[in-house]
Amino acid sequence: MKTTRWATGALACAALMCVSATAWAESPINGIAEVKFGGYQPMIDSEFNGATPFATYYSNDLWFVETEWDLYVFEWVGKAGIGFHAGYASVTGDIRSADGASGDDVPGETSFSVIPLRASLVYRYDYSAIHHGIPLVPVFKAGLDYHLWWITDGSGETATSDGLVGEGAKTGWHASMGLNLLLDVIAPSTAAVFDKDWGVNNTYLFAELMMQRVDGFGGQGFDLSDDQLLFGIAFEF
């Protein structure tokens, strides 16, 4: 047991600063709020054999931002809870003439925007961070998605084609795993003040790999699926 504990501590110190378990704030912990960013490229063109309308109009990835609020409902070895997410992603491209020309000869733009809404089951293994001084917290999430989307035409209004309005929603699911770095180890006194003044017990930087499959559970139409690498900051309260 002593050898195991020594080896664990040595490993943590090799990667990061070691910290005493007493650096964590004393107030109750109820949940965590996250803000994260990354790129997003929906798999809309996967529907076609050869045609690439999405890539043709939108050469760049969508920039993606998402907020998440998790509420803890269970704690034993780590914490489990439910999470609610809301995000936003948008990209704009040049409108094109019927023969495919774009740029200065064809004024106007068309945009594609998405608001992902999700509900998750969340598990955070912070047991070692609390009890063993290892400031790394693995996080696992899975849940259901409902993504709102809309497309604008050259006038900025919602696009239409053959009587169909270019807006709607897609359902799906997601699963993710992430690694959180506890920032309290860097400035424990600041963390204590943060808790006292704002109720923020712990602050993390994190990276998260998320797999989302948003295609109406295999239905027809848009496939808004993507595998994303996201980075963000989290405040545990």
């Binding site: 094109r96 064809v106 068309t110 089951l121 050259g154 084609s161 169909l164 139409g221």
Partner: protein
């Protein structure tokens, strides 16, 4: 506002160096004495094209001039006082207010004391004082010295007219005087037209590029377009009045000398486009040379996706494999949230 009308005796006109006016340029910027918290013009507002941010300068163009002179409009300039004058008003406090005219952007200071440039308003009928404000009332014809509205359109001018109130806050015959002004800029000079260099049109957008007008008081541009032919060299209002399909869109005066404006056009149709200047007083120039162009048929992403054979049809119902109710995923989300929320309460 409570009304207590009293007549005010005359005060002495300004000595240019004895007053609060700092520099010759500031003398022609409307002055506001420390006792005046606000200057407003009312009763005349429908004849004013716009006011500046401080509300102390009113701009009138040709159209406003014609209306005001035709109607012999009466306006009231109200100077709201910081402290009500509750003590009896004496002759050494106020003098009949003045009006005077200067050329546009003239920086020469004006002192009304014994100056024929200034017109003294009728002391008995033109001033009204309440416990919080002083009101100066006069007609447009009297202020602008124009009696025939035709002169507004035929006699080009670009002048500034001041209505000035003067008083001695210390009630001393040799004390420093305070002044407050309301400035009316009457500009009946139309600006020069710009040069429309290029114009493109799609179903939703008209894009134009131009060479600036030389007008020194240029405010913005007006883009006029129609699906019927018209000629340049006329006012935009003449085109919009004569052609039902004609539209007039505001275009900002920007550094890039180009702008896209929203339009609603039919692909492959012919559209006629021209540009006019508009100055700070709202006067249009004549239209530039008209550019004739064909509306380009455009395809946005949604149309391109559908044209490529995409199966998405839009809508907010959840798509599921055939046979499954469309609202199942949403229900699961809600149900799961309720269950877990209940577990949390028990924790």
């Amino acid at each position: 506002m409570r009304n207590t009308s009293r007549r005010v005796a005359a005060a002495v006109a300004l000595g240019a160096g004895a007053l609060m006016c700092a520099t010759p340029a500031a003398a022609l910027t409307p002055t506001t004495g420390t006792e005046v918290t606000q200057t407003q013009v009312s009763g005349f507002s429908r004849y004013i094209y716009q006011l500046d941010d401080l509300q102390t300068t009113a701009f009138l163009g040709v159209d406003e001039c014609v209306d005001a002179i035709e109607q012999d409009a009466e306006f009231t300039v109200q100077f709201t006082l910081l402290t009500p004058f509750t003590s009896p008003i004496t002759d050494d406090l106020f003098e009949a207010s003045y009006t005077f005219r200067v050329d546009r952007d003239d920086t020469t200071a004006v002192s009304c004391a014994g100056n024929e440039v200034c017109t003294t308003l009728d002391q008995q009928s033109d001033l009204t004082i309440t416990d919080t404000a002083v009101q100066v009332s006069l007609s447009a014809r009297e202020l602008f010295q124009i009696s025939d509205p035709v002169d507004c359109a035929t006699v080009t001018s670009d002048d500034e007219f001041f209505v000035r109130l003067t008083w001695d806050p210390d009630r001393s015959t040799e004390g420093a005087f305070s002044t407050a002004d309301m400035r009316f800029i009457l500009d009946t000079t139309r600006p020069d037209a710009p040069t429309l260099d290029d114009a493109l049109a799609t179903e939703n957008t008209i894009s134009v590029g131009w060479t600036d007008s030389s007008a020194s008081d240029l405010d913005e541009y007006a883009l006029v377009y129609a699906t019927e032919s018209f000629s340049g060299g006329v006012l935009p209002t003449e085109v919009t009045a004569a052609i039902s399909s004609a539209r007039n869109q505001r275009v900002a005066n920007n550094e890039s000398n180009s702008q896209d404006v929203t339009a609603d056009l039919t692909p492959e149709a012919t559209v006629y486009i021209a540009l006019a200047s508009r100055d700070q007083a709202g006067n249009y120039s004549e239209l530039s040379t008209v550019v004739e162009t064909t509306v380009v048929d455009t395809v946005d992403f949604w149309e391109a996706y559908r044209n490529a054979g995409g199966s998405e049809e839009g809508g907010y119902c959840a798509h599921t494999p055939a046979g499954a109710p469309s609202h199942v995923p949403g229900a699961l989300v809600i149900l799961g949230g309720l269950v877990l929320a209940g577990l949390r309460r028990q924790r």
